[in-house]
């Protein structure tokens, strides 16, 4: 056991307070007794693994003197079974000579005397090797009919055998209060009600206990509490994680996880859907949402990033993810070399990475890219069906277009025409930007009727009283910077065709131009500019009802015509920093038909804009390498003009596509119509990042992880060789094969990893303590029989997660007290025998939730939200650290409206680079990497958070309200203190506690009586006001008392 950890308060406290001898804690560690019968896995492997394998292990690349100690056959040069004295290994580790001693002093990992003894004894006893426990097959047990309780008893029997062996006795069963509070926190992450505790105290029978289990395990709170752990594991967050750390649509995935726990979806399905939901036959929405798992990796959009390097970094993310989540393996080590401690080779690492090569992803995204591809989830079946129909028709049309034969001379002729047009700076021309009926756009807000007026298509809107608006933005016809055309053509102007109904004229017309960097609205447009026709009053009205704009420019009166007319905005008036990406049309009063919106300009400009549409369409729902994508409005122009030299084959194919589109107007009319309808439909759908398989990328074994070295072999998808081989006849193995193997009987690891994690959740630490590593460097399970039994049970129950939970909480061991006996403190300080329960601080989320429940403020989940919410946080934190790069997408932390503030904490917006400071202080991980287990520190920063974070003050105000509201007007101080204890700790206070708080309450009442304004100030934090100062003084004083209870150790601890 490695005992290097320096922050042992227990010992410190003892030393300071009592001067007790340290030996109390020395039950394990280097002075631990050595076992008589030495086992390789338990006793020897950890020594060799941490001190020898680095140079004499799996990694052929760093193997010294050709000696392997991990392999029984190869180790015989150094190990003579039964003859320790003749074994080179023993001579070397016991040597006093710095030149021969092993490990060499430079490694700084000397072998202790105890370890020397163990190795000697092991060799004397025959130097038998064992396979690593996690990789041993997990026996399939015959089906059985035992009841849950019988199975739980079997678990207890296994623990009892250990206790007998150690001649120890377990502690007593927990008190009903301790037990029901524990169960409530473990299952739901929330405290029980005092009434629950009372009911259980009245009837602490097994049946009564099981009723609580049944009730709570089926609650949505259970699912949310379990999901919290899963979200740490898969590094779920709301942002991309690197540099600008942009938001991504992941909320549906979180909902999927919660629902999956709620519905007790079998873990094998849950696994398969996440890794490969998109590869299932005709996947449904939920399966596609699940596949967002693969897209939770960090992605970059820094312009200087090298595409290849970033792609390999992403492969690493995928491999580390599978390793951490399902295999309990630290696969990341093999990126640069064969794993030193586990039989995972570099080839295995890259072969695992190759499973993910089919994913549509790029190394360098464009800022504001939603991390395409995304999947659109419709609310109604009708929309879902329509989406499918439209998508299918479009696929057919695209195939038809792709199959169109291209006549080379016709193409050449077309190209020549385009070049002429691109050079024509004289002739005036029109670029039709936003079609009245068929604009394909990502953003489509507001309603209108599509109709015709005077024979021309129009979007018809009617305004009664307030301004009516609709917005279309991020259109397939592209984006441009109007101001940039002025130099070449001072006449350039944006025009908006408008139909003015003679019988119902508007009093004003407004056009709001929407701009966004990189041709995107992104998730937050950068700038708006308003142009208004009509009176000054109308101008003001427009400015108020539209998004806050950079400026509102009056364009004079509404044209005094009836029917169609044209509004024009000279380009030199369009002072926008970023690209024009969309328009909002609005009017006050009247009925208006909106026609074409476009650009009146010279032919060269109109042509280059027209030509861009083909690439926009091609790249509409898939990401592309930033440096090409960013320039997409100019790419086709440049290819045709040949400004960047002779087009390569890819560019030539783009040009052919543009030609086909230009020469197939009938097909394209249909395509445009269908796409317009599809994306109008989708603009109201919910979105999620999603896995999509496409042409596969290539993975090579990179020597020393260097992406610039292309000398390594190209690999095919494969599981690590020592675990077997996937059988896919004549077919490249894919993610679905990987996922199915993970949950197959051939893989013994995953069931063990999951069972171990479940044990940790309900008993405080794993049977093997290293949840993140079940490999050779991992902790030897304290009870392998138990772990294997649970793993087999889990798998053979059909991967039934709730069954495993029920089984664990139904054991007697789970229900033990967490108060150790004197003997256990001394003999099993680390609780390896589980002869008692454990204690731990609640997670940050649970503490906040518990405070809200106690305050009566908790907003229970009725519908699992998709959007994350923004709790209050200190201004300075986000103000300086939030800043997202590149102009348009600066993200500000705007606290959600009050009514959303009391949601469950797991719905907090999780920005990887800046997680909420309350969660940060309470040890939540950033989720940049997979986290299998959180630490729980105990710091002054936590105390400051619990004392001063407004949410906890607010909770104290809420809790105080529960004891000094009108119905409690006549209660004595003692009675109120009792109530506070019931609400916050679900028990009654002791006399000492009451006495302490009675005095404290009086001092607070005196204080607020002397300064009633202070009471008002305090209560304003909870938005509470009173007309009479006595109520205010009382509430404020009790708030301070309530705050004391919320800060007790007991409040934040699960016992």
């Amino acid at each position: 056991m490695n005992r290097r950890f320096p922050f042992l308060f227990a010992k410190v406290v003892l030393l300071v307070a009592c001067g007790v001898n340290l030996s109390l804690f020395a039950a394990s560690g280097s002075d631990q007794p050595t076992p008589d019968v030495v086992q390789y896995n338990r006793d020897i492997r950890p020594i060799l693994s941490s001190k020898c394998f680095q140079c004499h292990g799996y990694d052929a690349g760093t193997r010294e003197a050709g000696l392997r100690l991990d392999d029984e056959n190869d180790s015989r040069d150094a190990i003579k079974p039964g003859r320790a004295e003749e074994s080179e290994l023993v001579l070397r580790i016991e040597s006093q000579d710095p030149d021969t001693i092993m490990p060499p002093p430079s490694i700084a990992k000397p072998i202790t005397v105890r370890e020397q003894t163990l190795i000697r004894r092991w060799i004397e006893q025959g130097a038998k090797y064992e396979n690593h426990w996690a990789y041993e097959p997990l026996a399939v047990r015959p089906p059985e009919t035992a009841s849950l309780q019988q199975k739980a008893s079997e678990i207890d029997a296994m623990l009892r055998r250990r206790w007998k062996l150690e001649s120890t006795e377990p502690v007593a069963r927990a008190t009903p209060h301790e037990l029901i509070r524990r169960l409530s926190f473990d299952l739901r992450g929330l405290p029980p009600q005092y009434e629950d505790v009372q009911a259980f105290e009245a009837n602490p029978s097994r049946e009564s206990y099981q009723r609580f289990v049944d009730r709570w395990i089926d609650s949505i709170e259970y699912a949310e509490n379990q999901a919290m752990r899963w979200l740490d594991l898969v590094r779920f967050s709301d942002t991309t994680g690197l540099v600008s750390d942009e938001p991504i649509a992941t909320g549906l995935y979180r909902r999927y996880v919660i629902n999956s726990f709620h519905n007790n979806q079998p873990f094998d399905e849950f696994t398969i859907e996440q890794l490969a939901g998109d590869l299932l036959d005709d996947p449904n929405d939920e399966q596609l949402i699940a596949s967002a798992y693969n897209r939770l990796i960090k992605t970059n959009c820094e312009a200087g990033v090298i595409d290849q390097e970033a792609l390999y970094a992403m492969k690493g993310e995928h491999v580390r993810g599978v390793g951490a989540v399902w295999l309990g393996a630290t696969t990341g080590c093999a990126e640069c070399h064969d794993h030193k401690f586990d039989p995972i080779t570099a080839k295995d690492y890259y072969s695992l990475a190759a499973f993910f090569d089919d994913l549509v992803e790029v190394g360098v995204y464009t800022p504001g890219d939603r991390r395409l591809p995304i999947h659109f989830v419709h609310d109604s079946q009708r929309d879902r069906d329509r989406d499918r129909v439209l998508s299918a028709k479009l696929r057919d049309l695209k195939k038809q277009l792709a199959a169109t034969l291209v006549n080379d001379s016709a193409l050449a002729k077309w190209k020549a025409e385009q070049i002429d047009s691109l050079r024509d700076q004289e002739t005036r021309d029109t670029f039709h930007w936003i079609d009245p009926h068929h604009a394909t756009a990502m953003v489509h807000d507001g309603d209108y009727e599509t109709t015709t007026r005077a024979g021309r298509p129009a979007r018809l809107t009617t305004s009664t009283g307030t301004m009516t608006t609709h917005r279309i933005a991020e259109v397939m016809t592209g984006f441009f910077v109007p101001k940039s055309y002025v130099k070449k053509d001072p006449q350039s102007r944006l025009f908006i065709e408008v139909y003015l109904d003679p019988s119902n004229r508007p009093s004003s017309l407004a056009v709001q131009l929407v701009s966004g960097d990189y041709g995107r609205v992104g998730w937050k447009p950068s700038e708006f500019l308003n142009f208004v026709w009509g009176s000054k009053k109308a101008t003001n009205a427009a400015a108020e009802s539209l998004s806050p704009a950079k400026a509102t420019i009056s364009m004079g009166e509404i044209p005094a015509v009836e029917g169609w007319t044209r509004l024009e905005i000279p380009c030199d008036k369009i002072d926008l920093t970023y690209e024009l990406v969309g328009v909002t049309w609005g009017h006050l009063g009247g009925t208006v038909g909106w026609g074409d919106t476009g650009l009146d300009t010279i032919r060269s400009t109109a042509t280059e804009l027209r030509l861009a549409e083909t690439l926009q369409r091609m790249w509409w729902d898939e990401p592309h390498y930033r440096m090409t994508y960013e320039d997409r409005m100019m790419v086709m122009r440049n290819v045709i003009l040949g400004t960047a030299g002779q087009p390569d084959s890819l560019q030539a194919s783009w040009m052919r596509a543009a030609y086909t589109e230009a020469t197939e107007p009938e097909v394209m009319r249909l395509v445009r119509e269908l796409q317009a309808e599809l994306f109008r439909l989708r603009s109201h759908a919910k979105t999620t990042v999603v896995s999509r398989a496409s042409a596969t990328k290539v993975t090579r074994v990179l020597p020393r992880g260097n992406f610039m070295d292309e000398s390594g072999a190209i690999v095919q998808p494969a599981i690590p060789e020592f675990l077997g081989k996937l059988e896919t006849v004549d077919r490249r193995a894919n993610r679905l094969d990987l996922a199915k193997w993970i949950v197959s009987d051939e893989n013994p690891i995953t069931a063990r990893v999951f069972a171990n994690r479940a044990w940790e959740q309900f008993f405080g630490h794993g049977i093997s303590r290293t949840l993140e590593d079940s490999g050779g460097q991992g902790d030897w399970p304290s009870n392998l029989e138990l772990l294997d039994r649970l793993a087999a049970e889990f798998r053979d129950s059909g991967w039934d997660r709730k069954h495993l939970t029920r089984l664990l909480v139904s054991t007697d061991a789970y229900q033990l007290s967490s108060m150790p006996t004197e003997a256990l403190v001394q003999r099993d300080p680390e609780n390896e025998w589980f002869a008692r329960q454990s204690r731990h601080r609640l997670r940050g989320e649970q503490i906040r939730d518990a405070a809200l429940v106690t305050a009566g403020r908790f907003q229970a989940t009725t519908v699992v939200p998709i959007e994350s919410f923004f709790p209050y946080q200190p201004n300075d934190y986000w103000d300086r650290s939030c800043k997202v790069m590149y102009g348009s997408r600066h993200m500000l932390w705007e606290p959600s409206p009050d009514e959303q503030q009391y949601q469950r904490t797991l719905y907090t917006f999780w920005k990887r680079q800046n997680i909420h400071p309350m969660l940060l202080a309470l040890d939540a991980p950033t989720r940049q990497e997979c986290t299998t287990e959180r630490t729980a520190t105990n710091t002054p920063g936590q105390a400051l958070t619990m004392l001063n974070d407004p949410i906890f003050v607010d909770a104290a105000i809420g809790l105080a309200a529960r004891v000094c509201n009108d119905s409690n007007r006549d209660l004595s101080d003692e009675e109120r203190i009792k109530q506070l204890f019931r609400f916050s700790l679900q028990r009654l206070p002791t006399d000492m506690e009451t006495k302490e708080l009675v005095e404290f309450t009086r001092s607070q009442l005196a204080y607020y009586r002397s300064d009633p304004d202070e009471a008002t100030k305090l209560l304003s934090l909870g938005r509470v006001t009173y007309n009479d100062s006595e109520s205010s003084i009382s509430h404020a004083s009790w708030t301070i008392v309530a705050r004391v209870l919320l800060n007790t150790h007991e409040f934040m601890t699960r016992n």
Binding site: N2, R3, R4, F5, P6, F9, A10, K11, V13, A17, C18, S30, A108, D245, N300, E302, G304, I306, T330, G332, C333, H765, R769, E772, E822, V825, P829, H840, P874, D876, Y877, R880, S881, K883, V884, M885, M918, D923, T926, Q928, E929, T935, T937, T939, P940, G941, Q942, A943, L944, T945, L947, N948, E996, L997, Q1004, A1015, A1036, I1040, T1048, T1053
Partner: protein, 469 residues
């Protein structure tokens, strides 16, 4: 066992001591706040420091964005001579370029003027007149080499020794290895100044897989210098004091009952929190500084300027904060590098020099290590005609004080400043040397996680003797 797991284990272990041993009262607990206790390195299997440290604390002036060495500390007349000419292709083999992946590559020399300064003759750009005046205290390094060519991973690499997020930062390693050195302030504090824009991730001072209390704490130049440091409005100082006392009394009842040492820790941390609520505002109050000092830094109050942050850093040093990082942003000059460096220099030059002088006047420079540098250097080639791209093969930084040989220039780049010709100074070497100056043998400062003994220096790093006093 792995240390991550060990930490979690210790949470179990440190619960419960023998009830028969003795009860524990608040009086005994107050000594928990003793800094030696907080600094305890416990088990004794390794002890830090490994040898007498030259530096007791570090003030790291972190120029975020990647300051150009060619306008600051690496004078290259040859580059000016070849201005506009193509760079020899041979230099570019195997080099990662960022933005210049997409551009024609030409030499770019600028004429900002350099001066050989002081007795040492250290060459410093005329854009940094105040630093020129303390040239004899500086050890200038011109051969900084990194492996990451883009900001995010380069920050991560410079701070944690790995380009992938998730490892502990330098300050966290020191907190873990050396413990706390202040009884009422965090041992690792970060402040920022400069224009907002390019983001600085809080992960740059995260503790990674080390327990969370080793995390760097960001302090702001505002009325709330730390998150949640202020007592809520409507609660008086004495009310806060009384509340904490009541909390601790309730907790001490529980401690008496259960003998759970974790409760004792909780009690001590609430005490410490209260102390911090007093000590932090006092720290930010410059009224006890002399006029001379305030003029030196050109700072009358913590106003968010770099100079004021430097003065805060000195005040924190005096109060035992071990690792202070002052980030100053906006050094990413892809265009108009001369204008950019000149503007940034105006912002930081005075504060940097003031800090070194002030520490020296107070006799603190001998055991305070001052570091100046960014996440990478910049190219000798131009980007877009007036700027410079990110560069991994060369870059400049300087160090002064605790254990550093003053008045020298270390490392020689080629005539164009593209790469090291003599004495490379890799980020891993920087880390090894930094730890060495604090008395820590970098190979011994390890933490076992995921089956590996992780180090700040990964499996690399040499202590660079050439810069040691």
């Amino acid at each position: 066992m792995q240390q991550h797991a060990q930490f979690i284990t210790n949470q179990t272990r440190r619960h419960f001591f023998s009830k028969s041993a003795c009860g524990i009262g608040l009086a005994a607990l107050s000594s928990l706040l003793n800094r030696d206790v907080l600094a305890s390195t416990g088990e004794g299997e390794f002890e830090f420091p490994n040898f007498a440290p030259k530096a007791k604390r570090v003030i790291y002036l972190y120029m975020s964005g990647g300051p150009s060495q060619f306008e600051t500390f690496d004078f290259k007349p040859e580059l000016m001579r070849l201005n506009g000419k193509p760079l020899p292709n041979s230099l570019l083999q195997g080099v990662k370029l960022a933005f210049l992946q997409h551009e024609k590559i030409k030499c770019f020399g600028t004429d900002v003027g350099f001066k050989k300064c002081g007795d040492s003759g250290n060459e410093i750009s005329n854009l940094l007149p105040n630093l020129q005046s303390i040239a004899d205290d500086l050890c200038i390094i011109r051969t900084l080499e990194t492996e990451q060519v883009n900001h995010d991973p380069a920050h991560t690499f410079m701070n944690t020794g790995s380009g992938i997020a998730g490892r502990p930062s330098i300050g966290s390693w020191l907190s873990y290895g050396l413990g706390s050195s202040s009884d009422n302030l965090p041992s690792f504090v970060v402040m920022r100044s400069g224009k907002e824009g390019q983001p600085l991730p809080t992960t740059a001072w995260h503790s990674g897989f080390l327990p969370g209390h080793h995390q760097g704490v960001e302090m702001y130049s505002s009325s709330q210098p730390l998150n949640f440091i202020g007592t809520p409005s409507g609660i008086s100082t004495s009310g806060q004091r009384a509340s904490i006392a009541a909390i601790n009394r309730l907790n001490s009842f529980a401690l008496e009952r259960d003998g759970d040492a974790e409760i004792a820790t909780r009690i001590s941390q609430y005490e410490l929190a209260y102390k911090m609520q007093t000590s932090v505002p006092e720290l930010a109050d410059f009224s006890d500084e002399s006029d001379h000092t305030r003029r030196l830094y050109s700072a009358d109050a913590p106003d968010g300027s770099f100079g004021a942050n430097c003065l805060m850093a000195r005040r924190m040093s005096e109060r035992g904060v071990r690792f202070i990082q002052l980030y100053h942003t906006d050094w990413d000059h892809h265009s108009q590098v001369v204008e950019g460096v000149s503007a940034r220099s105006k912002e930081v030059d005075r504060g940097c020099a003031a800090l070194v002088k002030d520490l020296k006047e107070r006799g603190m420079l001998d055991d305070t290590l001052v570091i100046w540098g960014g996440e990478f250097g910049r190219t000798p080639m131009s980007q877009g005609g007036s700027g410079r791209d990110h560069h991994t093969k060369s870059g400049a930084m300087w160090m002064a004080g605790g254990g550093i040989r003053p008045g020298i220039t270390y490392g020689q780049t080629d005539p164009l400043g593209f790469k090291t010709e003599e004495n490379p100074f890799h980020v891993h070497d920087f880390h090894a040397t930094l730890l060495h100056l604090l008395g820590v043998e970098h190979k011994k400062l390890t933490f076992r996680y995921q089956g590996r003994d992780f180090r700040l220096t990964d499996v690399h790093g040499e202590v660079i003797d050439g810069i040691l006093a």
